[in-house]
């Protein structure tokens, strides 16, 4: 028997329609439960070697390490620092060896995916960055209404948000508040 994973987003985060009820939803949101997230951080001077190791082990091409060069499963949060999804910590540690720190953050970070026609209007309320200068595939560590948040742009109107688990309820509530005028559909 495997234990029940606890929803970190709190009781208000329920599937279905929230806020404005008329018309199609402006924002769609979903939370990936049980996602495996590993944080890696290169030791000083080892960032390039670490990226090479990750490429060798998992085929991830992280380029020279700029935030724009990540991938959906390797989101850059800082120099030589990534959130990797889909691999467990032991596998990652084995891959990076002494080049980098690797810690499990599967419980520590919550990933929300948001999309929809009102996504730009929504992000304009919560994120200080300019979407016009933000290519698809780029990650930015910034804030969501003052809560530390790493964003990854999956598509034109689709973003992953990584936030600390203990903050997730506030993020959830504030996302509900901010998207009420557009209509929010939670999957």
């Amino acid at each position: 028997m495997s234990p029940v994973l606890k929803n970190p987003l709190g009781a208000k985060w329920t599937a279905g329609r929230h806020g404005k009820a008329e018309g199609g939803p402006g924002v769609l949101a979903s939370h990936t439960a049980g996602l495996t997230i590993v944080e890696v951080a290169a030791l000083p001077g080892q960032a390039q070697a670490m990226r090479a190791a990750l490429k060798a082990a998992f085929g991830m091409d992280l380029g020279a390490g700029s935030p724009a060069e990540g991938a959906e499963n390797a989101v850059c949060t800082g120099p030589g620092q990534y959130l990797l999804t889909g691999h467990d910590v032991a596998t990652v540690k084995a891959a990076v060896g002494d080049l980098a720190l690797a810690v499990d953050q599967s419980s520590g970070r919550v990933r929300l995916t948001i999309s929809g026609p009102a996504i730009a209007a929504l992000l304009a309320k919560t994120c200080p960055l300019d979407l016009a200068t933000w290519p698809v595939g780029a990650a930015h560590a910034s804030h969501f209404l003052h809560i530390a948040c790493t964003y990854f742009r999956r598509g034109d109107a689709e973003f992953d948000l990584y936030v600390g688990r203990s903050f997730a309820q506030s993020v959830g509530k504030w996302l509900l508040d901010a998207s009420a005028e557009f209509g929010l559909e939670i999957a």
Binding site: P79, Q81, P128, A141, H143, H146
Partner: protein
């Protein structure tokens, strides 16, 4: 205000936490400097506190969490450069250039 982070690029200042002027490096570990000597006092307390070009520590706390040293004009708030703190004291030339107000 915008601050340039060498990793993240131009970012709004609310993502950063300022710490103060970066005028003197930390005295070496295990050195013989006494706490009342200039080395320690300059690191912790004493400041030239120039009006004009200064170097200042900022933490990109709501971003990549790097400490950076930002070259700023304290009369106009203009940011003219920034570097990772991890490189700043290593690169004495840059530190000196900035100190000289270039």
């Amino acid at each position: 205000m915008l601050i340039f982070c060498p990793h993240c690029g131009m970012r709004p200042s609310e993502e950063f936490t300022p710490k103060g002027l970066a005028e003197a490096p930390r005295p070496a570990l295990g050195g013989d400097d006494r706490p009342e000597d200039d080395a320690w006092q300059d690191y912790l307390h004493t400041r030239t506190n120039k009006a004009g070009q200064t170097n200042e520590y900022f933490h990109h706390s709501l971003g990549c969490r790097r400490w950076i040293v930002v070259h700023r004009n304290t009369l106009t708030h203009e940011v003219t450069g920034s570097t990772m703190a991890s490189e700043f004291w290593q690169n004495q030339q840059q530190a000196q250039d900035w100190e000289a107000g270039q």
